[in-house]
Amino acid sequence: MSGNGHSVRVQDAAFDPGAEINAFLARNPNSGGVASFIGQMRDFRGSDRTEKIAAMTLEHYPGMAEKQFDELIADASQRWTLDDALIVHRYGTMHPGDPIVLVVTASAHRANALAACEFLIDWLKTKAPFWKKESSGSDAAWVEAQDGDDARAQRWQQT
């Protein structure tokens, strides 16, 4: 889904963040500042690095996911002048080291690109309809949402 200078993709297939960023740069040669964020799957559960996880499945709400991303980009565009933005988010099964989400923003200068990129990932964590289930050899468990995510998103509320 794209339009008005942004693209959103929600997909089962793996993506190559480097290739995506290079393609984005090629599309935006006149943007002085391009910022990016990659979320990747870790091989441990929570903060306990000894509890390994082997795989993760992401469930999602098709239709609403794309809508939410479009809305977040529209919000970001209201606050900062952006030349382009890209969000790619996977669903389905993935393994440690796999990229899950990519956010890229382009603007004339670095301040807008960096701020918008951080805004998008902070809000995406609280609004995008995806749910992670982690599995180790013997069990599988739904990841719980973190209060910290809500707190980070709240920081962006305008006074």
């Binding site: 469930e59 999602h60 899950i100 989400v101 995406l124 995008a128 309809p129 995806f130 749910w131 949402a145």
Partner: protein, 83 residues
């Protein structure tokens, strides 16, 4: 109206979606949850702590007071964990 369930809400209810026609007295999400819980033990279990279940009406985040009259789709899910 189509109801959608995701993640552990889906596991507790036992289905990912269903089509329902609530009575006219059911006007908002809270009343819908009460009605669903009265009809099935699995629904009652899924909604036993309403604070844990988030809502979207026609693919827009909503709260329990949201009006559902005329809604095509209501989804129930845990707090999101994407990204």
């Amino acid at each position: 109206m189509t109801l959608l369930y995701f993640a552990w809400v889906r596991e507790k209810v036992g289905i990912s979606q269903e089509s329902v026609t609530p009575p006219d007295t059911v006007r908002n999400v809270d009343e819908l949850i009460t009605w669903l819980s009265s009809r099935s033990a699995k629904h009652a279990d899924a909604f036993s702590d309403r604070k844990l279940v988030k809502i979207a009406v026609d693919q827009v985040h909503a709260n329990a007071r949201a009006d559902i009259q005329g809604a095509k789709e209501v989804a129930f899910f845990p707090p999101v964990t994407g990204g």
